[in-house]
């Protein structure tokens, strides 16, 4: 087990699968789909091996692999996993088979292209989470855009081209400045005028503190790229368009994994590399995060389109994640990391659910529905669990995450974050309002069947395939909600490391809970 380059296998197995899929005749759709499902399941099983062989006691990167790529320029293929990336990798590998299973029942045009693109996307996502070389990270980060662009643009809704371009341009605009910042870091590493000794290796760059006069600039460049990706208010405007136009599979991946790239980037790069600048920016970012929480929730309340509602709820939820990250306490940061996973599960599931009902009714307007719970009891039951997770009801994973974030934020007295925690707490209530109100209007009350082109559509309950897609997510939602320990354990060491470093900078002393769990 230990000799296998398991991370490289994880990253490149999907790409290999995509290349093989290129040679499968497009007429043989069942085999293409089976190939994608099988391959993504193998990747998931491999990642389970990662879960069990992971050593939770250390904050060091594990299972590192390093190969020379462009050594003359200090570029290495360097990957490794720690407590921060572990869960996100698993989230990705866990969702991909479900997405493939779902698309097997719902998407029937250009199956070959779909399979190839999604597998390439999986490679890019896993590579982004596992890369420990800044150049490598950037390559995967940009590579991610291309398949997603096609997913939205080819299989999307009416305004798909606009949404796809907007998604691409927004993300690209943020990331090119990050590239310049990465290059600046590169030229700061090593000695002398030449290129010898300089490196893009994250671990090496982290060892040498960045001078404080340079930090704000580089932090800003990185933060802009990540803030657009998260997306933080006011850079969120691409998100509703992309989500509404994307096909269900695209929305799920976008919400569950791609948005996490932003928050992951803050945690992986911005905080450890530029601690002073991050500390200085923390109040501003926390303020913007809280604005995002409230604003996202308010706008979600006003939506008539279910998918848009879920999209805006993401803005609100990721505000929580950002607030927790920049509160710097052990609890808040661990809550944030857990909440990234939770949001991936609950919002991913919500997009699945909205997609399932849209396929039946060909409308997503809340007002077109009524009494759905009576027509589709299984759908309503699963929807209820996922909704409770999304609004953070105790017993679900959402509660654990939001609770840790709020407690942790409240404890951040050195920066005076208590008011933020209070306002964010109000955001939880707003979250309950928009979700419950939607539930009340669509699921309860008198039965109202949506009318399309003059005739009513009879809603049928979920198929076994659809239940099969949702069941694992729901189980995980409840599992994390009741027993989050194995998840928190594996993240504790890495988070403590970052948290202690940040606490030192803001002058609150190291966290006392370092080994408490």
């Amino acid at each position: 087990m230990s000799d296998l380059p398991i991370l490289s296998i994880l990253i490149f197995l999907p790409l290999l699968g995509a290349i093989v899929a290129l040679f499968i005749p497009r007429s043989n759709e069942p085999f293409l789909r089976a190939w994608a499902i099988g391959l993504s399941l193998v990747v998931f099983l491999a990642s389970l091996g990662l879960w069990f062989s992971f050593d939770p006691t250390t904050s060091d990167f594990q299972l590192q692999e390093q190969l020379a790529w462009v050594p003359a320029f200090g570029i290495y293929y360097h990957v490794g996993v720690d407590g921060i990336s572990l869960l996100l990798v698993l989230l990705t590998t866990f969702l991909m088979p479900l997405v493939f299973i779902y698309t097997a029942g719902s998407m029937s045009v250009r199956v070959k292209e779909l399979v190839v693109l999604m597998l390439v996307l999986e490679t890019a996502m896993l590579g982004t989470f596992l890369a420990l070389d800044l150049f490598l990270f950037y390559v995967f980060w940009e590579l991610m855009l291309v398949p997603m662009y096609f997913l939205i643009g080819v299989w999307g809704g009416a305004r798909r081209i606009y949404a796809a371009i907007k998604f691409f341009l927004y993300t690209m605009a943020g990331s090119v400045l990050m590239l310049l910042a990465i290059v600046t870091l590169y030229f700061r590493s090593g000695e002398g005028p030449g290129l010898s000794g300089r490196t893009f290796d994250l671990l090496t760059i982290m060892k040498e503190p960045v001078p404080t006069d340079l930090q704000p600039w580089l932090f800003a460049a990185f933060a802009l790229a990540f803030a657009i990706k998260v997306p933080m208010f006011p850079f969120h405007t691409w998100l509703p368009d992309a989500h509404v136009e994307a096909p269900t599979a695209g929305s799920v991946i976008l919400a569950a994994v791609l948005l996490k790239m932003g928050t992951y980037g803050f945690l992986r790069f911005c905080l450890p590399l530029f601690p002073q600048a991050a500390a200085a920016a923390a109040p501003l970012i926390a303020l913007v995060a809280v604005i995002g929480i409230v604003y996202g929730a308010l706008v979600a309340t006003m939506q008539r389109d279910m998918k848009k509602l879920v999209a805006y709820s993401s803005v609100s939820h990721l505000g929580f994640v950002m607030l927790g990250l920049f509160a710097f306490t052990q609890e808040s940061m661990q809550g944030s990391l857990l909440q990234m996973i939770n949001h991936g599960l609950s919002t991913g599931a919500l997009f699945f659910l909205v997609g399932m009902i849209y396929e039946r009714a060909h409308t997503r307007f809340i007002s077109d529905f009524g009494g759905v719970a009576r027509l589709m009891p299984i759908f309503a039951a699963l929807f209820t669990v996922v909704m409770f997770s999304s609004l953070g009801l105790p017993g679900t994973n959402g509660f654990v995450g939001e609770f840790l974030i709020l407690v942790g934020t409240f404890k951040q007295s050195a920066l005076g974050f208590q008011p933020f925690a209070i306002v964010a707490g109000l955001g939880v209530i707003l979250g309950a309002i928009y979700l419950l109100w939607m539930y009340q209007r669509a699921m309860q009350g008198p039965v109202k069947e949506p009318v399309v082109d003059g005739h009513a559509i009879h809603l049928t309950d979920l198929t076994s395939r659809e239940i099969f897609v949702l069941a694992p997510i729901v189980i995980l939602i409840l599992l994390i909600g009741v027993y989050p320990k194995p998840f928190l354990d594996r993240t504790a060491a890495s988070i403590t490391n970052v948290s202690d470093q940040m606490q030192k900078v803001v002058g609150a002393g190291p966290s006392t809970l370092a080994s408490g769990r």
Binding site: V139, I165, F168, V176, L179, L180
Partner: protein, 506 residues
């Protein structure tokens, strides 16, 4: 007046001779071929000549006595790098020309001859270490290109493009000559090494017979300020060379000429003429004017910023793919200028690498443009690309690779090239220029992606008949496509090659 003939080392210019002789040979073979035989063998003769040229260029990579003909030309690795590049471009252009030669009934003999002569001009530009030789190279290139541009003689736009190119190009040549004469007036020599030494440098390219300096220049060299006459000369050189490289604000001819010229010639011009101009710029500014960097880096920096902004923004508004690629090529010249402003080892290395990457992706894109056209139906509008990805999946995929590479998305050659250019800019402290550059390239993403979304996300407005088979052009497109990915995934050998090809920059 004593006049001694300098040593004539013909081995030093062997590749150039081979190229020129190939051109002459093609002309003769054409002359003695009866009309009914057909002209297919002329392409073979040209390609064999190119192979010989390439062999000679590789053979003289480490030529023992690089400074030849009394300091007029240099046969160093820089020269050979560009010689190989020009041979490659010319060969691909010949492959791309096959369909059009057939379709539009060109006179193949003249066509190949002019192409080979223009390549000889390019080789002269890259090897020149004297301003007069730079001028000769540019003229040989330009005059051949003026004619080639007008080769589609039944198409009015082609004629118009040719005349326009000729008129504006002549003006540019005038500027260049005037600049050369001013530099000569200030430094007393047209030899790049002598000019460099006159300005306080110690160039290896200087010949023994460098003239004594005028007092004004000598004084200027010691106090570090260039005399006005020299600044004016330098500025005019920038105008002249900038015209050939199509950088803003000397780019106005580009879209019309690129649109009007036969597509294979457009492909050739857009990569070869630019590469030649930048080779000359590197030589002139890094050998003759390195001590005046404070004066020219600002000038070229402004031009670079303007070029990137104008090229990328105006490209958005285009509806014809050749015009779009014309503006795109303007923008790419801007990126290369950024690397020149960096004026460092890394900068020069990235100029060479980017030139190679740009050559591959642009030739590839034009190959696709040629491949989707038919007799009487050029399909040059962007809207003609609607649905191409499903109509012709291989072409669609290749075009996507070229567009993504031009946009600078990994893992392609274009990304690696831009990465090195902006790295060089950051290293030299040109942060503002780097920021303008990356933001301009974000703008460019819009119009490159438009081609992709047309190909894959838009239904065609009318039915398209499949174009006839064009195996040579297809081979060129496939080859460049693979090369674009190879350079993006494993750039090391090419970076090393570029690094080994700049002996005069330390």
């Amino acid at each position: 007046m004593n006049f001694t003939l300098p040593a004539l080392d013909f081995f030093a210019i062997a590749p150039l001779l081979a190229m020129t002789l190939t051109g002459c040979l093609v002309m003769l073979v054409d002359l003695f071929t009866p009309r009914r035989v057909g002209k297919g063998h002329l392409a073979v003769v040209s390609l064999v000549g190119l192979a010989v040229t390439a062999f000679l260029a590789a053979w003289s990579w480490d030529y023992s006595n690089p400074i030849a003909f009394g300091g007029m030309v240099a046969a160093d690795s820089f020269t050979q790098f560009f010689n190989l590049l020009f041979v490659f471009i010319t060969a691909i252009t010949i492959l791309l020309s096959q369909t059009q030669l057939e379709r539009e009934d060109f006179h193949a003999g003249e066509y190949y001859t002019l192409l080979l002569f223009s390549a000889a001009g390019l080789m002269l530009m890259a090897s020149a270490t004297d301003l007069i030789m730079v001028f000769l190279g540019i003229e040989l290139l330009s005059i051949s290109l003026y004619i080639l541009t007008g080769f589609s003689r039944y198409r009015l736009e082609s004629e118009e493009a040719s005349i326009k190119y000729l008129l504006l190009g002549s003006f540019a040549t005038g500027f260049l000559l005037f600049g050369i004469s001013l530099v000569y007036g200030a430094a007393g020599s047209t030899n790049l090494g002598c000019v460099g030494n006159a300005l306080g440098g110690r160039s290896e390219f200087a010949i023994e017979t460098c003239p004594a300096l005028s007092q004004a220049t000598a004084a200027a060299a010691t106090n570090g300020h260039a005399p006005a006459i020299l600044l004016a000369g330098m500025g005019l050189l920038i105008v002249g060379l900038g015209f050939k490289a199509a950088v803003a604000p000397f780019h106005l001819w580009t879209p019309d000429v690129y649109e009007g010229a036969p597509t294979a010639i457009t492909a050739y011009m857009s990569v070869a003429a630019k590469a030649g101009a930048f080779a000359a710029v590197l030589r002139v500014f890094m050998i003759a004017f390195p001590s005046l960097i404070a004066d020219w880096s600002g000038m070229i920096g402004v031009i670079a910023a303007l070029t990137m902004i104008v090229g990328n923004t105006v490209a958005i508004a285009q509806t014809n793919i050749k015009r779009m690629l014309a503006y795109s090529s303007i923008a790419h010249a801007g990126y290369i200028l950024v690397a020149i402003v960096a004026a460092s080892q890394l900068g020069a290395q990235s100029v060479l690498f980017y030139t190679l990457a740009y050559t591959l992706m642009n030739l590839g894109a034009f190959a696709i443009v040629i491949l989707i056209g038919r007799r009487g139906e050029e399909n040059e509008l962007l809207s003609d690309y609607a649905g191409l990805g499903y109509r012709q999946p291989v072409l669609g995929m290749l075009m996507s690779i070229f567009m993504l590479s031009l946009a600078g998305i990994p893992p392609t050659a274009g990304f690696v090239g831009k990465f090195y250019i902006f790295s060089a800019a950051i290293q030299s402290g040109q942060v503002v220029l780097a920021i303008i550059g990356v933001l301009a390239s974000v703008v460019s993403v819009y119009f490159y992606l438009r081609v992709i979304y047309l190909m894959y996300m838009v239904e065609p407005a009318r039915a398209y008949a499949l174009p006839p088979r064009a195996p040579w052009a297809l081979a060129a497109a496939v080859f460049t496509g693979i090369a674009v990915l190879a350079l993006g995934l494993y750039p090391i050998p090419f970076l090393d090659l570029a690094g080994a090809s700049i002996p005069f920059i330390s």
